[in-house]
Amino acid sequence: MRLKRLRKRSTVVLAVPMLVAALTATNVPASGAAIVRTTSHTDGDTQSVASSITEVDYRTGQGESAAESTALNGCAKTTGIAVNRTAIPPSQEIPKLLLDESSRTMPDLVMVDNPNMPQFAQAGALVPLSTFHVSTNGFSAGSLSIGEYHGTLYALPTVLDNLVLFYNKTMFAAKGLQPPTTWAQLKSDALALKTKTVQGFVFGATADGDSPWQFLPFFWSNGAQLNKLNSRAAVGALQYWVNLVKSGASPSSVVSDEDTDIANLFAAGDAAMVETGGWNMGVFNAAKGLSWGDVPIPVPKAGDKVIVPLGGEVWMIPQTSPAKEAAAAKILACITSPGPMWKFAINPAISDVPARTALANRLAKSNPAQKAFVKSILTAQSRAGLVGAQWPLIQTELWTAIQQAVTGSTSAQDALNSAQQQVSTAG
């Protein structure tokens, strides 16, 4: 059943341009449901739209969960489509969705971390967004890139996040230092600011997806690419991290410092500089006596371009039934429209960059702390963009290599050689 349906859809999708050209939008063939939907481009709202949909996301934190509910409830009111929301902890979301898939009970609208989307697109579980009235005008190129798989748009983000360098203004002023812009400055500043109780620069090199995410700004800015993990540029970037730890500029605890640990260290004044994202601004603002600033992640040498990974969740529409899919598309179009997007992005529990360029620029003007984020977004890259569905494996091999090198078990070169070898044999 399912297989047949998949095959049918792919032929229909291929035929879309021809259909649109051939049909005069008056004679709608009643044979295939998919055809009815594709003609809705020209036909308006003749299709049936379900009155309620189910939705799954992983915003389980108190503040962010409330923000998401507000956004979805607002759009439920605008569209008249009830949204039944379920929030699942991030680590359990993908296994749960896979089980839903195998029992054919996928929710109608799903938010996942953007590198996970290709898994579902590759398996043919998603409806291309071109099928619906979802406008992509005004979205930044980066925000569209994380929703694409093999040139087809399957998902859209509402907000984006990435990584910047947060620094403790008081400590920098005491030493008469300026926030660093190059790798050399980052290391020397960290060494200068480090004391017995204060760490110089803390990043995350844990045994999970956090460490590739934190490492990529160094990896990409040095010119490395994810399809060759053991290139000279890649080894150079990892060697820089190793040197940071070896010299004492960064503590050896980086291999177990999770993002919350990093944020807590900085908020408590136990770290002069940390690499993290906008979601922690609330924590930093609430910290007593903390005066902080943020700048883009330093680059190998002056004049280099900083390339950070595009973080952020994307919304995708699984294949369910035409009426449910149409309803999900309406909600998706609503939450990604300028008004709701802006409200969601500036919610203190979210504090991310809107996916629409005009709104991003407006954010940078209204909030100086967001400048570094908006600037970095312009050159940011998608993690799964180049490697697609191979990303999960690459990510595991990358964090293993990072941990091996940072703990000194093997050299950066050997660690990345074996990582690349694992990826090559599996691919």
């Binding site: 898939e101 195998s102 605890s253 494996l393 941990q403």
Partner: protein, 322 residues
Amino acid sequence: MAASAAVQFVRPLTRRMVRNLLLPRRRESLAKASFLAPVVIYLLVFFAYPFYVNIRTGFENYTTSSFINGVAPFVGLGNYREVLAQPVFWQAVRNTAILTGGSILGAFTIGFGFALYWNRDFQLNSTLRALLLVPWLLPLVVSGTIFRWMLAQNVGVVNQVLTGLHIVSSGIPWLDSARDALLAVTLVNIWVGIPFNFVVMYGGLRSVPQELYEAAAIDGAGTVRVFRSITWPLLRPVTLVVVLLGLIYTIKVFDVIILLTGGGPANATQTLTTLSYTDSFDNFNFGQGAAISNLLIVVALVFAIAYLKMSRRSLQYAVGRA
């Protein structure tokens, strides 16, 4: 055609079965069967079927797509071949062996020591005994998370105390060095395992007949002699059972490791369970993940069968003695 032949074959069979069920003697066996049915159904649904699926998945190239289109190509021993060729698998085998051996040795020695101590009468005996059970009662997620904080290199209380007392000059990277992490995980696992060993060994000690000790006292035997000639030999069956159960529990320990280190740093605490999890739920290579856990099941099964044999023998021993 084959189907109709099957029906012709089955129909008289079922008729005979129905008739048989109505006979008085058969009715008795029906009653027996209905008492057995719940447990049989339970075992089939919750043990046999998942077990079968896990074995089958181990022979398939089962990926994310398999969930969606239901297609998982049969690859024979391919998954096993790939798993055994990975250096990290053998590292995980080594880590599992060290963790299991170390945990059992530590938890049994300390647990048995406590049992010997608590076997004597002293004030607050029962209160303190109840307190000893706390590690067992706490959810592992809670104790694991607390240990992660306590063992943190810079801000953890363990290092604060050690440096404060000048036992070490700078904090020990408990969870942050490839050398010490397995030790730290083993220590936490020992802490978790002490109550179980304590309770069972304490029960064993209590069941040793008091008159044997009285007789030994009359014969003028010393503490060491009493332990070697009475306590230890009489406790041997219980000891074997405790150690074997400990083996089965520890070889599949997962929560403690995932919470403390996530298998890191650099696979230093990667065990067969965490590796299986990583393969399945990080790499979405469910076939390989299943292959690893199948290998683990085989090992656990060996110990489980040994345990069954042992407990039967110790039961006979106990019956024979009484």
